[in-house]
Amino acid sequence: MPFKLEPRREPNRTMLYASPVIAVALTALAGLLFFAALGYNGTLAIYDILILPVIDATHWIDLGVKAAPLVTIAIGLAIGFRANVWNIGAEGQYVMGAIAGTGVALHAGGTEGAWALPVMCLAGALGGALWAAIPALLRARLKVSEILTSLMLSYVAIQVLYFLVRGPWRDPEGFNFPQTRSFTDVESMPILIDGTRLHLGIPIAVLIAMAVWVVMSRTLVGFELRVSGLAPNAARYAGFREQRTVWLALLVSGGLAGLAGIFEAAGPFGQITPNFPTGYGFTAIVVAFLGRLNPLGILIGGVVLAVSFVGGELAETSVGLPSAAIGLFQATLLFLLLGVDMLVWYRIRRIAPAIAPSAAPAVVRSAS
């Protein structure tokens, strides 16, 4: 190979910020080729997916509506990812949050009061946190990988939702459709501008981003989480306990995912239907990395993914792109982002040919 990767001594500052931009550009290019190869108008598809939602102001509120849950979930995930706790099951916690909040509304006995929504939101956050507590317990007590348990519990949560909307929680006046009754006004997220879908969850997502930024960069708890992720031995040396970090990271990320879930149920959905699990919990992983695990970066990352969702819907109608193609597009984005990120810490260098890589120390185990 005439090229090799050489580690940099310091991270490349330019690349640190340029790499998401490069990744988006490369994704556009790759998408163009994919879609063209599938027989669609690739240029128009990319224009509709990436450009149209940004330049056309009529789509901006849609962007906010899509971005809010992504950002809220991704911020929680990023806290965990920073601390080396890999919660991959935000989708399940998101669903459980919606279920818990909805449960409060359905079983509150018809009392209509201003407390309804706050209590639903609290229940949503608790529901998500409790669902995340299962992988936390398994990891902290038995060292079971939270990656697997949290992921698998997502599918359990979705089945629980199917059971509830088809069974005990089915709307008696819903003509046998598998869905809960619609939320009343006091049970719904307030709309900030009449006649639009701009709900309270959107500014709250921004506030959460700012609050978490302060916590991560300025408080001891944030320091603890960062140390745990970067250097577990140093964390132990500093007196931080690994179990506490695991609990903290999973409960907070689960709670935020649950909060996003009830916001979405009590907001744009207005009820729970079998279509409720839309994969926000998984897409938020892409958002978290696109935003460099930084709460403020995640705000931007959330908007970028929202653009691809809103644009994807536009492209579905304009060029007839299947919705699965958007999933492919988003996955390509994550893939390329992680690939381009390599250039932050490494540089590509041409080397003279005919050098075989070092073969001598096959497996290194220092004799410390």
Binding site: L230, G239, A354, A356, A360, P361, A367
Partner: protein, 524 residues
């Protein structure tokens, strides 16, 4: 080049380097390096950490490639493109860090590393032949994790000798050996030299070079700053060539010992972490105010486990096993112990004592927040951490751009000064330091030594865990030897001989029967 001892010849040098240079991003590792090694010559490459010795050897062994200059092998210009090519030429290298599989036997480790595999029976016969020719005691059916470090090194040497090399490169081979093991190694190397094998010996231990080598090339900052015949030089004169200035040795101030008991460890037993962790077995010792207490021993005999147990990263089974003055602290975590006055510096700087990706200011938060007001209401006081880092940098002469520099940007010596300084400025009653000058240049090492002695003179009790005997003999008033998770009786440094310590390091406890029968083989 200088005169050559045992086997000079009129033939071309075995290896000659001409104007070799190599750069890494931001560093000039080697610059215009030229020297030659004759057949049978033991040639020392002498220099501090970061002087460019290891890079140079990696170039010779084909791991790295020189940017400029020429390498001549027996008079012919060669291009060594890979370690395999180097071995083909007849160059063997024993690395400082071994490449062995712990769970495999000696035989299996040698077999997997062969460039040209041979049938088992033939290979076994060949290994036994090499072992007996060079008088290397080694049981090839043993699994590596049951072997001492000296025995592991022998596997690496045997690996090299299997290929009948004509040049053997040894990178800091004695850093992990007991004095007796060093003597044994030297016997083998002298025998090889007498047979005409050239040896490039990399070290910064001057008395060893004086005892073994025929000639020496001294590197500083990547350049050759001198050549000499170590047999006629003094250790001091070579050291001064190496550091390019006068050598300062740390001075003891005040009287050691006699103070009150500060740290009492009694019957501390901690199981080792599987698979290869060392179990601490009834470790007991007492350190007094104003005293430097040394713990010697070959690395991997439980020092890391002891450091972790003292720091509180691993909690003791019973609180009374570790006491600070009269207070049992064995059940406490790192934070409570620090508050009580016990600070610890672990061996590994990167990722244990410091977070490489954090700034120096952030790194003060790791430990100093317990004894310094670096937090308020759960928030970090950024200005206070910066000021504290600034203080450490100034008082301990840390060469860096300031408190906002990333820890990873500092050289090993400077980061170590920062870490030791961070703990010392917390004015601990007891300071435990593991391998305080490991991989640290001579200037920084002497600064750290002086700071430790000063802290002791001010009444702190200090525990220094080190595999460098010279360091312990210079610092400690009493020392114990750690072997296989146990401590020997405490010895007064004043009346102890290096030979006795060496025997203890090999596992022979004060004339008792050896702990494990097999360990006698490498202890004598």
């Amino acid at each position: 080049m200088e005169g050559i001892g045992s086997a000079p010849g009129e033939t071309a040098p075995r290896l000659e380097l001409r104007h070799v240079g190599k750069s890494f991003p931001g560093v000039r590792a080697n610059d215009d390096v030229s020297f030659a090694v004759a057949p049978g010559e033991i040639h020392a490459l002498l220099g501090e950490n970061g002087a460019g010795k290891s890079t140079l050897m990696k170039i010779v062994y084909g791991v790295q490639r020189a940017d400029e200059g020429a390498i001549l092998w027996e008079g012919r210009s060669v291009d060594i493109t890979s370690p395999k090519a180097a071995r083909k030429l007849g160059i063997g290298m024993v690395f400082q860090h071994f490449s062995l599989f712990d769970a495999l036997t000696v035989y299996e480790n040698i077999a997997v590393g062969m460039d040209d595999p041979m049938p088992r029976r033939a290979l076994e016969a060949r290994i036994e032949e090499v072992l007996s020719t060079y008088g290397l005691p080694l049981d090839i059916t043993r699994e590596v994790h049951t072997l001492s470090v000296g025995e592991r090194q022998r596997i690496e040497i045997v690996r090299c000798l299997m290929q009948q090399p004509r040049l053997l490169i040894m990178d800091e081979p004695t850093s992990v050996l007991t004095p007796q093991e060093v003597e044994k190694l030297f016997t083998t190397l002298r025998q090889l030299s007498a047979e005409g094998v050239s040896i490039l010996y990399i070290s910064h231990k001057l008395h060893e070079i004086k005892a073994l080598c025929h000639s020496a090339t001294i590197l500083r900052g990547g350049r050759v700053v001198g050549t000499c015949d170590p047999r006629v030089e003094t250790a001091k004169s070579m050291a001064e060539m190496m550091i390019g200035g006068e050598l300062r040795t740390a001075e003891r101030r005040g009287k050691a010992a006699g103070g009150e008991e500060r740290l009492i460890v009694e019957g501390l037993s901690v199981p080792g972490t599987p698979p290869f962790g060392i179990e601490l077995k009834a470790v007991s010792f007492t350190v007094h105010a104003g005293e430097v207490f040394g713990i010697a021993g070959v690395a991997g005999n439980g020092q890391n486990e002891l450091t972790r147990a003292l720091a509180g990263e691993v909690v003791a089974p019973r609180a009374e096993m570790i006491r600070l003055a009269r207070r049992p602290i064995g059940h406490q975590g790192p934070g409570e112990r620090r508050r009580a006055g016990l600070c610890v510096v672990p061996e590994e700087r990167n990722g244990h004592a410091a977070v490489p990706e954090f700034t120096l200011a952030e790194n003060t938060m790791l430990t100093a927040r317990y004894r310094r007001p670096l937090t308020r209401g759960g928030f970090m006081r950024l200005a206070a951490t910066r000021a504290f880092a600034e203080d450490v940098i100034r008082r301990f002469d840390v060469r860096t751009t300031g408190p906002e520099a990333l820890a990873r940007s500092l050289s090993g010596g400077n980061l170590q000064k920062f870490i030791v300084g961070r703990e010392m400025l917390q004015t601990p009653d007891v300071l435990v330091v593991s391998q305080p000058t490991w991989g640290v240049d001579a200037g920084a090492a002497s600064a750290i030594h002086q700071a430790l002695l000063d802290l002791a003179a001010n009444g702190a009790a200090i525990v220094v865990i080190s595999q460098d005997l010279d360091e312990l003999l210079a610092l400690a008033s009493r020392l114990v030897v750690m072997n296989d998770g146990r401590l020997s009786q405490a010895l007064d440094v004043a009346g102890v001989s290096v030979k006795d310590i060496g025997l203890l390091m090999g596992g022979v406890h004060g004339g008792d029967a050896p702990v494990h029968p097999h360990e006698v083989t490498h202890a004598v």
